[in-house]
């Protein structure tokens, strides 16, 4: 009898943990423990979402409302501002998936086993400790037309490179993605670092014994073992990028005009600035559906593979 068989036989049916799918009905106390979490999610998330869906079928200015069916949704699809918003959100998703995640991984791998690593990591993590508003203030100081970046380019004799960084689309969206990268890379790096340090040294040694080194070692030994943490980092980045709001609001307020608006800003402007609650609710529903679909598709695929 193997050690495993012995351990199994020692477990009486009474003490053996129930398996998922077990036909036993959950004990009453279990339901009691589940209740706070289910109630919180139900009351604070599901019910408001259903109410938002319901509200999106109305023309509503806060004082009076009238049923308009799908009109808010059909108007959205022909609204240039909304379509620009979708495009900007797409740029944010691509940019923040590519830059902070990739840079975080590279920096984590590059500084994991070198002597000056902690110093470098500290410098990268520091911006992550700043609040969004401080970050925006700092970047606003640099990116204004009369700001530090243009002043520096001018003093270096590179005045041809001067730009109205926050006033021209798509430049404004790109520089805001870079600002976010500056702040968010530290978080990705920490998570990748945790993943790296959890990799058993034996697997690396085995790889080296088999002749792998450098990039080959990274690609075939390290990267596959980083997969669980990558799922988390990419999943978080995906959701965060889809609901980008604060830095855009603080740096350009979605402007000039509405050129740099993301879906979250369009939702906010329609609802809270223009008091068009029905239209804003329709944007909110579409944004929620996009976030849920993207997260579900990604996580389902990744978790199933794992």
């Amino acid at each position: 009898m193997t050690a495993l068989d012995e351990r199994n036989s020692a477990l009486t049916p009474r003490t053996r943990p129930a398996r998922p799918g077990n036909s036993q009905r959950p004990h009453g106390s279990l339901l009691l423990f589940l209740f706070p979490a289910v109630a919180l999610v139900g009351i604070l998330l599901i019910l408001p979402f259903l109410f938002t869906v319901y509200r999106s079928f109305f023309r509503d200015n806060g004082f009076s409302r009238s049923w308009v069916g799908l009109e808010n949704y059909t108007t959205l699809l022909t609204d240039d501002i909304f379509l620009r918003s979708v495009l900007n959100t797409g740029m944010w998703t691509a940019g923040t998936l590519l830059l902070p995640v990739l840079l975080g991984l590279l920096i984590a791998v590059g500084t994991n086993s070198v002597r000056w690593g902690p110093m470098a990591r500290f410098a990268i993590v520091l911006p992550y400790a700043l609040s969004g508003s401080v970050t925006a203030l700092l970047w606003n100081f640099m990116l204004q037309t009369d700001g530090a970046t243009n002043a520096m380019l001018d003093s270096l004799g590179l005045s041809t490179l001067e730009r109205s960084w926050l006033l021209e689309w798509p430049m404004n969206t790109i520089v805001m993605i870079i600002a976010t990268t500056w702040q968010a890379t530290g978080a990705s790096m920490i998570l990748f670092l945790v993943g790296l340090q959890a990799i058993p040294a034996e697997t690396i040694e085995a790889g080296r014994v088999d002749g792998a080194g450098g990039f080959r070692l990274f690609r075939s030994i390290v990267l596959p073992q980083l997969r669980p943490i990558s799922v988390v980092v990419i999943g978080i980045s995906l959701v965060n990028s889809l609901k980008t709001f604060d830095i855009v609001w603080l740096l350009t307020r979605g402007g000039p005009g509405t050129e740099s608006e993301t879906l979250a800003l369009t939702m906010y402007r329609q609802t809270f600035t223009l008091s068009r609650y029905g239209y804003g609710a329709a944007v909110a529903v579409i944004l929620t559906v996009i976030v849920l679909l993207a997260s579900w598709t990604y996580l389902r695929r990744q978790l199933r593979t794992n």
Binding site: G62, F63, S64, Q144, T145, D146, S164, L166, L167, E168, T252, R253, G254, G255, P256, G257, T258, E259, Y268, F272, T273, L274, S275, R276
Partner: protein, 439 residues
């Protein structure tokens, strides 16, 4: 039983605290903290004693309201308990939602013109006919202002202040170049060109991502034809008409001549930049004089003048902006709030208010202790300009908000082609929003 043997009861009576006790206490304290705040928000609770609550979107005004409230208390027996929500969008939502319930403040600060009509027609504000009648009887207010505080023939608010859009100019910069306050449009442009040639930013003009993009649009329109501006904002003229095209062409030309700062400049920079003489002028609401006072800038640093008309044939005109003080229909202390609204324009109350605000009152007898603002009041009295309602309040809010964004976009690309497409989009929005407004 020996003295050293403890009964179970004695064991329980020892002062050890088990986890359940801690949890019970924590739950009890948590509930005690949370439940009262569920009963009624601190923002909307009735004021103690005889005071009335006033909600507004500017927390920095609290000392001014307190000091005006002291005078009001002496006259009516009611002072202010001030509430504030600093973000304008949030503030508007708070008022729109809470005024429909009994969780409202007694008085609220609002805007005049179409922004007032937008909510007055939902019947959330009380009729202030009696307050206006009394103010007019006592000569506290110009009766011509009444219309912009009315909906369907009844006034629903009284003016909180009466600000004008005038040019702030840097006295150090003007003195260094030997410039005089301009008497006509050509002289104004010549001054701006002189400042530019000296390396000074001639006119600071913000608005890339704020409402301030409307300032030069409205000014150029009233400078060409105040009647056209009135017709345009009432939906009786088109944004594609010649006058609007001409205004945009002049604006684009001024950009072409490099007379404006970049549109992402901030008006908050102004006091410092005036003091160092690196900015020459700024067209803005006179209420911004308060920023100079708060920054500790000497009154000799800046002056104010009314911008001359652009067209030689146009009468003198000035844009005016008024905050509005309204009483909510669900006020906890309706009678007291109406008394306060009735006494708000009293000269003594207004004097206490403008002493803090550094801006003008709707009551012409109350002047702030700021010399440049007093000088401007004298200019206005002498010139008797046509008063034009600020664009922000002069048309339906959704139309204005959308068009202001178009103007912001124009400021970042101020070309003639952009001007034409901007006006067309503004007119398209006007067509749609005027239809919605009358629904």
């Amino acid at each position: 039983m020996s003295a050293t043997t403890r009964s179970p009861a004695m064991t329980r009576s020892t002062p050890t605290i088990d986890r359940r006790t801690v949890l019970r206490w924590a739950s009890g304290l948590g509930a005690a903290a949370i439940l009262p705040s569920c009963a009624r928000g601190t923002l909307t609770r009735a004021a103690p004693g005889d005071d009335v609550t006033l909600n507004n979107d500017n927390p920095t005004w609290a000392p001014g309201f307190e000091s005006a409230g002291e005078v009001l208390r002496a006259k009516t027996g009611h002072g202010f308990a001030i509430r504030a929500v600093p973000d304008v969008s949030s503030y508007q939502q708070v008022v729109r939602m809470s005024a429909q319930t009994d969780s409202t403040t007694d008085l609220v600060k609002w805007w005049n013109g179409y922004r007032l009509q937008d909510v007055a027609r939902a019947e959330i504000f009380a009729d202030l006919t009696a307050a206006w009648d009394e103010a007019e009887r006592n000569g506290w207010v110009d009766p011509s202002l009444r219309e912009s505080f009315s909906y369907d023939g009844k006034p629903y608010a009284v003016p909180i202040y009466q600000s004008y859009y005038a040019v702030f100019y840097s006295r150090p910069a003007y003195q260094r170049l030997g410039l005089e306050v301009p008497q006509d449009w050509d002289q104004f442009i010549a001054n701006a060109q002189a400042l530019r040639d000296d390396g000074v930013t001639p006119i600071l003009s913000a608005g890339a991502s704020s409402w301030e993009s409307l300032i030069w649009f409205q000014q150029l329109l009233i400078g060409l034809d105040p009647d056209f501006y009135a017709a345009l904002t009432e939906g009786a003229a088109s944004y594609t008409d010649d006058t609007a095209q001409e205004a945009m062409a002049i604006w684009a030309d001024m950009y072409e001549q490099k007379l404006f700062s970049p549109p992402d400049s901030q008006v908050t920079e102004l006091p410092g930049r005036f003091a160092e003489g690196s900015v020459g002028m700024n067209l803005h609401g006179v209420w911004n004089a308060n920023a100079f006072a708060q920054a500790g800038v000497d009154e000799d640093t800046f002056g104010l003048f009314l911008l001359p008309a652009v067209a030689a044939t146009a009468p003198p005109a000035v844009v005016t902006e008024s905050g509005a003080l309204a009483v909510t229909v669900n006020a906890h202390k309706m009678t007291e709030a109406l008394e306060v609204a009735g006494a708000w324009l009293d000269t003594d109350v207004q004097q206490a208010w403008v002493d803090f605000l550094s801006d003008l009152s709707a009551n012409p007898s109350a002047l702030p202790p700021v010399q440049p603002v007093q000088d401007l009041a004298a200019q206005i009295e002498q010139a008797s300009p046509v008063l034009a309602t600020r664009y922000w309040e002069a048309s339906p809010p959704v139309l204005v908000e959308g068009n202001v964004e178009e103007l912001s976009a124009f400021m970042t690309e101020p070309t003639l082609a952009m001007a034409k497409s901007t006006l067309q989009r503004m007119q398209n929005r006007a067509d749609a929003e005027w239809d919605r407004w009358s629904m």
